[in-house]
Symmetry: D2
Amino acid sequence: MSMNSFGHLFRVTTWGESHGPALGATVDGCPPGVPIEAEMLQHWLDKRRPGQNKNTTQRNEPDAVKILSGVFEGQSTGTPIQLMIENTDQRSKDYGDISETFRPGHADITYWQKYGIRDYRGGGRSSARETAARVAAGGVAREAIKALAPNVEITGYMVAMGDLEIDRSTFDWDAIGQNDFWIPQGPEVAQEWEAYLLALRKAHDSVGAIVEVVARNVPAGLGAPVYGKLDTDLAAAMMSINAVKGVEIGEGMAAARLRGTENADEITMGENGPEYSSNHAGGILGGISTGQDVVVRFAVKPTSSILSPRKSIRKDGSPIDVITKGRHDPCVGIRAVPVGEAMMACVILDHMLLHRGQVGENRGKIG
Amino acid sequence: MSMNSFGHLFRVTTWGESHGPALGATVDGCPPGVPIEAEMLQHWLDKRRPGQNKNTTQRNEPDAVKILSGVFEGQSTGTPIQLMIENTDQRSKDYGDISETFRPGHADITYWQKYGIRDYRGGGRSSARETAARVAAGGVAREAIKALAPNVEITGYMVAMGDLEIDRSTFDWDAIGQNDFWIPQGPEVAQEWEAYLLALRKAHDSVGAIVEVVARNVPAGLGAPVYGKLDTDLAAAMMSINAVKGVEIGEGMAAARLRGTENADEITMGENGPEYSSNHAGGILGGISTGQDVVVRFAVKPTSSILSPRKSIRKDGSPIDVITKGRHDPCVGIRAVPVGEAMMACVILDHMLLHRGQVGENRGKIG
Amino acid sequence: MSMNSFGHLFRVTTWGESHGPALGATVDGCPPGVPIEAEMLQHWLDKRRPGQNKNTTQRNEPDAVKILSGVFEGQSTGTPIQLMIENTDQRSKDYGDISETFRPGHADITYWQKYGIRDYRGGGRSSARETAARVAAGGVAREAIKALAPNVEITGYMVAMGDLEIDRSTFDWDAIGQNDFWIPQGPEVAQEWEAYLLALRKAHDSVGAIVEVVARNVPAGLGAPVYGKLDTDLAAAMMSINAVKGVEIGEGMAAARLRGTENADEITMGENGPEYSSNHAGGILGGISTGQDVVVRFAVKPTSSILSPRKSIRKDGSPIDVITKGRHDPCVGIRAVPVGEAMMACVILDHMLLHRGQVGENRGKIG
Amino acid sequence: MSMNSFGHLFRVTTWGESHGPALGATVDGCPPGVPIEAEMLQHWLDKRRPGQNKNTTQRNEPDAVKILSGVFEGQSTGTPIQLMIENTDQRSKDYGDISETFRPGHADITYWQKYGIRDYRGGGRSSARETAARVAAGGVAREAIKALAPNVEITGYMVAMGDLEIDRSTFDWDAIGQNDFWIPQGPEVAQEWEAYLLALRKAHDSVGAIVEVVARNVPAGLGAPVYGKLDTDLAAAMMSINAVKGVEIGEGMAAARLRGTENADEITMGENGPEYSSNHAGGILGGISTGQDVVVRFAVKPTSSILSPRKSIRKDGSPIDVITKGRHDPCVGIRAVPVGEAMMACVILDHMLLHRGQVGENRGKIG
C-alpha cells in the first residue's frame, strides 16, 4: 500500500517536490516489448510544460525526462521504469517568505497540520509540478496501449473556463492542438478566450475551468466491479489531480435532472456489434466499458496563487494578508488537459491488463 | 488486490448477488475493543431497506444482518468481521425473462461482454442490493469512529431530484430523518416531493437525484497525498455506488465558474484553532482535511428499470422492446442516502487509522 | 490492504474463529466459467478434516462447505465466491478455563498483548481451524488451474516426523493417499509411523514434522520479480500456516553446504524444451518457474497443546502449570499436508493469472 | 499492486538494472520528522559494497546514494523518499558474450521465458546489485525505528559457510564487525574461514552460507495475523533476496525433530513483564512478537558464476559450456548479511507503524 501510487497492474508511483533536486515516476507493470524512448515521453511533457505560451506560467524549465531503468535497447523489459525530471530552475528565494505563512486555498496549512513539517518551497509535494511525473508515466501508458490496441485514441480539451463555454455544435477535433487552450474551436474563439484570460491576469485574478477527456475505440469489457470499476478508477484518478473539485462520467451531475425515459441509451445491433442511440452513460455501464466513447469531465478550481491580497494566518496564529508573487498560471485548468489525458491513459491501460489477467481474451459474444 | 474491496487499513470486501443465498461484507481492520452488536448495524440497514415507504420498491425483506466473526462478547477483537444478510425473498421467476435480454441502462450487456457468463437474476452482482453490505460495513465504521472521535457526525440528505431542489435558506438538520426523502426541509416540501414522484411513477418513468453527505467535526490532518487523498478516496467511494455519474467536493463543478478572489477560503485564528470565512474547499485542501465540514455530493441517474418500453437487443442480436416489470424505485437516489453515509463513514475511519499509522498523534501546532 | 488476505489477482480472505458461528473464505479473482460445485471443495476439506483417523483430533464435525456467492448454474461468474463452513460442534465449555491463562507455545499471550481482547475459545482466530477456509479456497484454485492448465498436478506428503524420515529411494506417489500420514511409502512404513505416534500420545507428548509439496507440469515463466517472486510468495504462503517455523525451496537450507560446481542445475536441450540435470533450484530461478517440478518444504512445530504440564502465567501475572485437555493432534503436521497443497494451488493459480495480465501469452522461445 | 514493492505502511519499491544508468528505491511511508542524511544511509551501503575486502568481488564502485526527495532540511517530511545510486563502473563489455547464452543457476533462462526480452548485462534486474537499493531503504528504516523505539537493535551475521559453522558457545557480538565474514567469532576463526574461501576460489568454485539476523528489544504485539504475520512477512522478505533457498524462524526446520515437551517456551513473570525459559519460537507466537529476540535465518546458495565449466544451452537451443568470468564473490552469503539486516529493519518498522494504525498504543496489560 503506497499513498503515492495508483493503478492495479500498471502501477505508477510519483515522487519529488517542486524545488527538490528532481521528481519523477516509478512505473511498474508496463508489459515487455513496448517501444519506449525518452523522446516519446518528452512529447507529452512539452505539451504540459510551463512557459509554452503566454497563458501559462513563465517558469522556464526544459522538463527533460530521463529513463533510468526498465528499458533496454529501446524496448520495455517488464521491470520498473524509472522516469526522472531534474529541477533545473528552482529559484527557492521566491518562496522563502512563505515558510511561516499559510496561503489560502493551498495545502500549506493542512500539510503542516498533518505532518508537523513541510517543504514550503513552491508547495513542496503539493505543487502542481508533481503532475509532470504523471504526464511522463502517461506517455509510457500511451505506448503500451498503442502496442495492445492501436485504435484507441485519448484526447483532452477544455470545455469551460469561468464564464466561457465551448459551443458543441462547432466542435472541431482538429482544432484542439492548434490553440493555447486545447479547445475544440476555431481561432476566433481562441482569441476570445485569450482576451478573457488576459483581463483576469491584469485584474490580479484567476479562474476555474472544466476539462473533458475522451477515450475512443476502447474495447468493451474493461472495468472490474464493484470497487475497481472503470468509472471509479477514473474518478479517483482525476480527483487526485491538484485543484480538481468535481468529476463527471457521461451525463455527470446533470443525470440528476433526467428522467428514466431520457437517460437510458437504447441499444440496436450494428454491423460491428451493439450500437447505442446516445451516450448518457459516458461509455460505462455497471463499471464496465460498453465500447462507446469513454467520457470524463473534471472541474479545476481557480489558481489560489494570485496577486490580490487574501486574509490568512501565520504558523504562530498571527494574521497576515497574503499576496502570492512568483510565476503562476491564471488558469491551471489549461495545463490540466495533458494531465487528464495521462491519467486516462494509465487507467485504460491498467484495465486492459487487468481484464487480460482476470478474464483472458474470451468475452461473451453478441449476435 | 481485490476488485471487490475498498479501504486501506479499514478494508471492506463485499460479496454476493441479488438472488443468491446471501450477500455480505468482510470487514477487516476494525480496531479491537469497539462495542458492536447486530442491532447497531441493523439500524442503518433498516434506513436503507426497501419496503420502508411507498416511494421505494415493494420488495419486502427484513435484511437481517448476522455477525459471523470478529466480535466476542459484544466487542470487536481486531480480526475480520463477517457480516451476512440472507436473501429471503428472492422471487427469481420475475427475472427469468431477462436471461437472454440486455436491459438498456443496466450492466446486463457489459457483464456479458466482460465475463461471458452472468447471473441475470435481478442484475446479479450489479444489483443495487449489493449496497446493503456497504451499509452494514458502514455501521461498523460508525461505531469505531464513535470510539475514536465521539464528536464526528456523518449525515446524508437529498438536495435535488429531477426538477426539484432544496432551498438552502430553510435548511433544517432535524427535518432530515422526518420525511421519506431525507431532505432537510419541512413537511410541506416533503409532500411536494412525494407528489412529484408519484406523478412520475404513474407516468411509468423515473428520475435522477443529487445526494449530499457531510461529515462534521472531522479532525484536521486526515488524507494521504497524493493518490490516497481524502477527496480522491471519497470520489472513488461514491462513484462506486450503483448509478452514480458525478461526484463533487465542496464547490464541485461550479468551481470552474469562480475566480480566485472568490474561491479561496480566507483563514483567521479562532479560539480553537484556524477558522475559515467560507467552505468552497469542502473541508479538504491538498487532499487533507482542514477541520471544516467535509462536504461531498453525488448525482444518481434515474432508475433504468421502468415500465415504459425501451429499444434493446437480445444476446443473439435480435431487437426487443424492454419493459422492466418487478419492484423498482422510481428514484434510486433516495436509498443512496444511507449508502453515501456508509461510504463516508468507511473513508473517514480508514483515514483516521491511516493517519495514526503514518504520522502518529503528533500534528503541527498552530498558534 | 488486508492482513487476512493473500494473493495478487487470485485473492483469498479468510475470516472466522474456532468457536464462532462460522468461518470461511472470500475468494476474489477466480476467472469466470470455471465449473465449481460444493462437492469439489468438500473433497479436499474431508482430506483435512479432524476425526478422519485415529492420528488426528477427535473433534467430529462435518466441515460442510456452502457456496454463498460467485457461482451460477455450476460455474464461476468472475465475482467473489463466498465459502462458509458452519461450526457445528463447538463445545466451548472445554476452553472456559483458559480465558485467563496463556498456554505456552500458543498465541494466547501475544493476541492479548497486541489487541487487549481475545476470543480465547479454542484459540479463536489463531486456531488451526482457520486452515479449513484455506483448503476450501484451494479447492477453487485447483478447479481454475484445471481449466487453464489441465496437466498441472499438486501433491503434498510428509517427509519427516520427529525421528522418522522417508526413504526417497522407495518413494511411491501412489502410496500417498493410502495411509493416514500422507507418506509416499508402503504400508509397513505407515505402521511404523503409527506406532511411533501412538507412543508419543501415550507419553502425553507431541512431535513436529516436515511436509513437502510438489507442483508438476507448471509452465515456465511464472513468478514476478523481485518481490512477487514465485518462491517469495510460496515462502509467505507456507509460513502463514499455523505452527510453521521454516520453509525451503528445492535444496533449501542444505544449499549452504553445497559448492557452486554441485549446485547449479545443468541445462540441455530436450525434445520439448530445456531439460535440467538436477533440480537443486526447486523449479525456480530468479523467482520465476523453469518448468521443472516446483518443490517446497516446510517444518511444522510439535503441537503445543499437550497433556504434560508446562509452566506459564495467568493474565494477572500469577504462575500456573498448564495442561491442555481437549481434542488435539499429537502431530499437526499430518493435517498440514492438505493445507500446504491448498496454499500451493492458490499461489500457482495467482501467478498464472498474473503472468497473463502482465505479459500475455507471448513468452520467449528457445530453440 | 506492484511486484517490485514490499511492505504495508512502510513501502519500498526498488528499481534499476545492474548495468543501467542508475538503480534505487522509492521509499514511501517513512513517518515525518525522522533525521535522515545521505551519510546515514551510506554507512550501510559501504558495509555491503563490493571491493571492501578480498573475499568479495573486485567491482569497485563508490555506490554513493543520493536523496532526491522526501527529506527537507535533514528531516523526512512524510512524502516519498527517492534514493538513487548511479552505476559508475559498468564495464558492459564483460557481459556481451552472454546475450545469447543462459548461465546455469542464473535467471537468464527464466527471464527470457517469461518476458521474451532481457537486459542481459550483468543479469539486469536479477543481479544481486538490486540489493544495494534494499540496503539504502533499510538505512531509512533504521533511522525511523531509532526515532520510535531507540532500544531496538538489528544485527546480522554468518553462522555457516559450506562445511564451516560457528561455535555458539563462543558467540561474541562484538566480534561481528571486526572480520570480513560478519561472524561472531574471534580472529582465529575468521582466518580459518578466509583460508577456506581462498581454497575455493583457487579451485574455481564457490560455496553457500547461512545468515542469521536478530532483532533485539522489539516490543511485544507486532505482527498482523493471519497473512501479515511478522514471520510471514520476514519469510517473504528474506526469500526475495537473490540466491536465498530457505528461511527459518527460531528453531526453524529443526522444529520437526522436537517434541511438544521440548519445544514450547515456558513463561514466568519477570520484573518487566513475561519471561521465557527458551526461545524456540524465535520471538514470534501466532505471527505476533513476544518481546523476545526475533530470530531469522536464511540459506544462500553458492554463487552460480564460477570459472569451472558448466553445461548449458544458447537461445537457439545449441549446447555450450559456460565459464563465467568477471568479478564474482565466491560466497555471496557474505554480502547478504547487510541485506538481511536491511530487510529485517524494513519489516520491523512496517509492523510498528501497522500496529499503531490498527491498534493504537493500547495493548493488553499483564500482571
